[in-house]
């Protein structure tokens, strides 16, 4: 099943580790070489993930490029990797955002470079592994591997309260993941395997009551990661303190791990429980949409604002997943990608002025548009992408989610749609306060516009934002079968032909 007999997925997963080894081998004094090596490796990794596309069969809903090696015989754990449309998109997003994050760190990171890139590369392996693993234990291993480098990225290269934020992030998410671990254990003891594919083939053998417990355990793990209201408070702290690249990856990829988990594991493996709890989760998602938007309005720190907007946006994704209709679910997956693009870009945008001014307080800025027109344009595009302007990526996802939700409940749709109004509110207000008005603060007088390197980091994101907005077909095409397959398991009633 591999391309030319090469275990391509293993290669894709562990290539960053090779980069990590190379960076480790370089002497710490050769900063340029370290930077270059890290950039080359993340760049090549992106190319490698794109190469996956060449042999990927978009018309199939099955897992592809399966790699299956026995791992721990004693408990039947396997090294099982596979990719379908959902994973593919997220892997591509991961490798792209990591590359961009690496690129954006060229100047932003000055101290302890070697460690920085080591952690960044390790992080990439963890994230890609999460999206590719089809063995629950293996999945868990990758899931946890992500925590440590992120902890250090926040803790070493973060802002003033980095220590607090780092440990809060670590503890909070660890609490979730150990709950998930218990869920995995129960699943395994029922199925006698970790193999997700085998579990799916076996069908829901768990009684509904047990499913509910496992679901709740998984829920804790995934919901904290998403983060769903009311488990979200680690996010603003982590985001605010993390370095730019950390925020980009955190928002762009890490949050998706949670929603991915719901879609890949909670829903198909525990369909009855998922159905049972779907309304409750939807309600939480709706609360998150409105609540996240409201709290965003009150933020004085740009990063914090965007962090809370993530809560709102991820609420949209959760809504899309748990109304259990194929359209909304597809929209949700696309929205994961969209959020990665637009929020990732927004964090980069904040990072750029933070790098120049060492503050992120909104009140410190104003009128930047006249000094930094290109920056203003990029910021505007990403703002519009974030608030779902048609023609840009955000719209497609939100539209599909709303349209997919309507048949289930008009009220949910209506509440979610208020999020769109509020979203425009806080984002435009942010944009106005930072970019518009008179250039009152003399510190901003000498601000430089984007350099070419900085522009280059944005370019792929802008292209993607337009591409997905205008011609999302290739993205949705790979999603179609796998998402529908999952929704069919969870919500067969949706597909029933009456009588």
């Amino acid at each position: 099943m591999n391309i030319l007999g090469i275990p391509i997925l293993t290669l894709v997963t562990f290539f960053p580790v090779a980069g990590m080894v190379v960076v480790l081998a370089l002497p710490g004094s050769r900063t340029r070489a370290i930077k270059l090596a890290a950039n080359i490796f993340t760049g090549l990794e992106f190319v490698a993930t794109v190469l996956l596309l060449t042999r990927f069969d978009a018309s199939s809903g099955d897992m592809q490029f399966l790699e299956r090696v026995p791992w721990i015989k004693a408990i039947g754990a396997q090294y099982l990797l596979g990719v379908d449309g959902i994973s593919l998109l997220l892997v591509l997003l991961t490798s792209l955002l990591t590359f961009i994050a690496t690129l954006s760190s060229w100047q932003a990171v000055q101290k302890r470079l070697k460690e920085y890139y080591v952690f960044l590369l390790l992080l990439e392996t963890g994230m890609i592994g999460v999206f590719l693993a089809l063995d629950l234990l293996l999945f868990y291993v990758f899931w946890e591997v992500v925590l440590v480098p992120m902890y250090f990225l926040i803790g070493v290269w973060g802002g003033e309260r980095k220590l607090y934020a780092a440990i809060k992030f670590f503890l909070y998410t660890l609490f979730g993941s150990v709950a998930m671990l218990v869920g995995i254990l129960v699943l395994r003891s029922q199925h006698q395997t970790f193999d997700v594919l085998a579990m799916l083939a076996a069908g829901p053998v768990l009684p509904v009551a047990l499913q509910s417990w496992v679901f709740l355990a998984f829920f804790l793990g995934f919901a904290i990661k998403v983060p769903m209201f009311p488990f979200h408070t680690w996010l603003p702290d982590a985001h605010v303190e993390a370095p730019t690249a950390g925020s980009v990856i955190l928002a762009g990829v890490l949050l998706k791990m949670g929603t991915y988990g719901f879609l890949r594991f909670s829903m198909p493996l525990l369909p009855d429980a998922a159905r049972r709890y779907a309304p409750a989760i939807v309600v939480l998602a709706l609360v998150a949409i409105v609540y996240g938007a409201l709290v965003s309005l009150m933020q004085k720190d740009m990063k914090k604002l965007i962090a809370y907007s993530s809560v709102s946006h991820m609420g949209f994704v959760m809504l899309g997943l748990f109304v259990l209709t194929p359209m909304a679910a597809k929209g949700a997956v696309l929205q994961m990608v969209n959020h990665g693009i637009s929020t990732g870009a927004l964090f980069l945008i904040v990072g750029i002025i933070y790098e120049r001014r060492h503050t992120r307080l909104i009140s410190e800025f104003g009128g930047l548009a006249s000094r930094m027109p290109v920056y203003a344009a990029v910021f505007l595009i990403m703002t519009m992408s974030s608030i779902g302007l048609p023609g840009l990526n955000g719209f497609i996802g939100e539209f599909m989610i709303l349209m997919g939700t309507f048949p289930v409940s008009w009220l949910w749709t209506a509440v979610a749609a208020t999020g769109i109004v509020l979203g425009a509110g806080y984002m435009l207000w942010l944009y106005q306060r930072v970019m518009f008005g008179r250039l009152a603060n003399p510190a901003n007088e000498s601000l430089k516009d984007l350099t070419l390197r900085e522009l280059a980091t944005f370019l792929p994101l802008i292209v993607l934002a337009f591409w997905i907005g205008i011609f999302p077909k290739p993205f949705l095409a790979v999603l179609d079968k796998p998402v529908e397959k999952i929704i069919r398991v969870v919500n067969p009633a949706h597909f029933e032909v009456p009588r």
């Binding site: 680690w234 359209m327 302007l389 539209f399 048949p407």
Partner: protein, 665 residues
């Protein structure tokens, strides 16, 4: 062919926005932008000609599949695949709209070359303007609600950008944001309406909706709900009650923008949308009544505010709101063609008025307050002339375009039997004539109230601005003849042309009644103009001043726009902020507090267990009688490393284990 129409402005916007902004000379920018608009207009004409020749009343062009098919479950209980194509549809309605948009747009582009010639961000302006044209064209050509929504939001974005074009001015930036967010509130309705239609019919293609509705597939209640939701979107975009407040503020933008976006095209998008979905609206009497009444009330209500404005552009802004109200009256009584007819004529004379006002402002070095104008008739006679033409057209002087379109609407309203609407419309007509002529008299008549400095620079606008004005003036005069009613010897060609897209609308009025109605409205307008002349020319505004003295509270209320802005700010913006503050508080204090509380709890438990380990047994033993000791020394006593209390713990543990085994298990 017609798919090319939006292409040119898009290219123009891209070229100017990406390359031109840095590398083009002013001339190159202008040529690019005007060229794009011109090519688009030419394409519109060609397409129009093609449509006239074509046997097919509707041309469809699918570019590509936008959102591939997903299964959705519809109200009928069936699960069907639903895909969204990026499709354009060209029919008579679209033809009219494209002609208006590109035609007026072209003129305004030309005008702007002159008007904006001194602005720093010349290329940016034209990029936005072209982008706007593109978005508007997508809106009118879009074959389904989603594609329409691209345009719908696109024009909103451009409006936002153009209102806030001079973004260093806080008021401009605020106005842009207000426009966008108010529109978003409307979008909320639009999206929900779209969702409802999709759920109910399984399609959001406009033709599909029309077909399904006419096929009786839609329950009346659903139709009402969908129509009202969509109409909420229309009120946002078209600045009707209750979402009109953004439009007067939008006058912060450059005047050509006001003319193109906030008079001629974008604000009529709501009208266009309702006309496009006429079948849906027609199905629901309630929705129709709401549309008509909203229009009628807006027409009068906005007109009252026109009475007291002193800013020349704001008068025109309220006038626009009022006139769009007229269009909705037409739509609401089923006379869709009449509504669109008025849309077209309004585009001519209102953009004329705005541009002329721009010319005035231009001449007075940016002065917009009518209290510092006056007597300009002689100073800038050409501008005065075209302005007068526009004012007469809007006031409904027989023979000018406004007369035909407005009368058709009023006649239809009368015919529909909704006399309240008709009455309001008639009142509005009179008020329109009054405030328009108040504007004219204040601006062009009487003594010169501007400063000498301004007078020194006073000059007539250059030809690049005047020529478009004159063309528009011509259109404002003759534009009505395409819809010349039968009673006046015309064939109502316009209505028949639109029948293919908006359906037939037969007036049941007797010829005599119709003539009588015309006469009444002309008379009302004439009286109003006369009144204005009396008050502002003959008596030099004295009665107005006295009226103001007498009814100070009333005047202030109207002048302050009935405090609606304040109320909205209090209730909605304030409400949201209160909610936001509460949410923020909850977030910091309650939710994060719980997290920190859990941590504190763990720490407390930790201290407790250490305390126990290090001698709470001893404490229990020795504690009696030692309570009087200070807490710290007690703590010291407790933290002993004695052997015996550990030994005691062991013994207790043994007892515990045995008890556990015997009793519990």
């Amino acid at each position: 062919m017609f798919a090319l129409i939006p292409l040119f402005p898009l290219l123009g916007a891209a070229v100017n926005g990406i390359v031109g902004i840095r590398y083009f000379s002013r001339r190159a920018v202008g040529v690019t932008a005007v060229g794009a608009a011109g090519l688009s207009f030419a394409a519109s004409i060609a397409a129009f000609a093609g449509l006239l020749r074509s046997a097919e009343p509707v041309l469809v062009k699918t570019l590509f599949t936008w959102v591939p098919a997903s299964l959705i479950r519809t109200a009928g209980g069936t699960t069907i695949p639903f895909a969204l194509d990026l499709t354009f549809r060209y029919d008579s309605l679209a033809a009219v709209m494209t002609l208006v948009v590109t035609g007026v747009g072209l003129l305004i582009h030309i005008y702007s070359v002159g008007y904006m010639s001194h602005d720093r961000s010349y290329a940016r302006f034209f990029a936005y303007l072209n982008l706007f044209t593109f978005a508007m064209l997508v809106l009118v050509l879009g074959a389904n609600l989603a594609v329409m929504f691209i345009g719908w939001e696109g024009v909103g974005l451009c409006s936002y950008l153009l209102i806030g074009f001079w973004f260093t001015k806080d008021s401009a930036a605020d106005a842009g944001k207000k426009a966008f967010i108010t529109n978003r509130v409307g979008d909320f309705g639009f999206l929900l309406g779209t969702g409802l239609l999709l759920f109910a019919l399984g399609t959001i293609d406009t033709a599909g909706i029309t077909a399904a509705v006419e096929g009786g597939m839609l329950a009346k209640g659903t139709a009402t709900a969908a129509a009202l939701l969509l109409f909420l979107g229309a009120t946002g975009k078209s600045a009707q009650i209750p979402l009109y407040t953004w439009l007067p503020d939008a006058m912060e933008g450059p005047t050509p923008v006001s003319a193109l976006i906030h008079a001629a095209t974008m604000v009529t998008a709501g009208v266009y949308m309702v006309a496009r979905l006429h079948a849906l609206f027609s199905l629901s009497g309630t929705a129709m009544a709401v549309v008509a009444l909203t229009g009628a009330f807006t027409a009068v209500y906005a007109a009252t505010m026109g009475f007291v404005q002193t800013d020349i552009k704001r008068v025109l802004a309220y006038s626009t709101i009022s006139q769009i109200g007229y269009m909705f009256i037409g739509l609401g009584v089923g006379a869709y063609a009449a509504g669109i007819f008025h849309l077209m004529t309004h585009a001519f004379f209102k953009s004329l008025l705005f541009l002329a006002a721009g010319s005035v402002i231009h001449a007075l070095s940016g002065e917009q307050d009518m209290r510092r104008m006056g007597g300009l008739r002689k100073r800038i006679p050409r501008t005065y002339f075209v302005f007068l033409v526009g004012a007469l057209a809007i006031s409904g002087l027989p023979g000018l375009s406004g007369f035909f379109s407005k009368d058709e609407i009023l006649a239809s309203a009368f015919a529909s039997g909704n006399y309240l609407v008709w009455g309001l419309g008639l009142a509005g007509a009179g008020m329109t004539a009054f405030y328009m002529f108040r504007l004219i008299f204040l601006t062009f008549f009487g003594e010169e109230r501007f400063s000498g400095e301004t007078a020194h620079h006073l000059h007539e606008s250059p030809p690049v601005m005047l020529v478009p004005l004159q063309i528009l003036a011509l259109l404002a005069v003759v534009g009505g003849y395409v819809g010349l009613p039968r009673i006046l010897g015309g064939g109502a060609w316009f209505g028949r042309f639109l029948e293919t897209s908006t359906g037939a609308h037969e007036s049941h009025l007797a010829a005599g009644t119709e003539v009588l109605l015309m006469a009444v409205s002309v008379a009302v307008a004439a009286v109003a103009i006369f009144a204005a002349w009396t008050i502002y020319v003959k008596r030099k505004g004295e009665p107005a001043r006295r009226f103001t003295e007498r009814f100070r509270a009333l005047h202030r209320t109207v002048a302050r726009k009935y405090y609606v802005d304040e109320a909205y700010n209090r209730i909605f913006v304030g409400g949201v902020f209160v909610a936001a503050r509460v949410a923020d508080w909850i977030d910091r204090r309650v939710i994060d507090g719980l997290v920190d509380g859990a941590a504190a709890l763990a720490r407390g438990a930790s201290r407790l267990s250490i305390l126990f380990d290090e001698g709470v047994v001893d404490g229990a033993v020795n504690g009696v009688g030692r309570v009087h000791l200070a807490a710290s020394s007690l703590l010291r006593r407790l933290q002993t490393g004695f052997v015996y209390n550990y030994a005691l713990a062991v013994v207790l543990g043994v007892a515990l284990v045995i008890t556990l085994v015997i009793v519990v298990l």
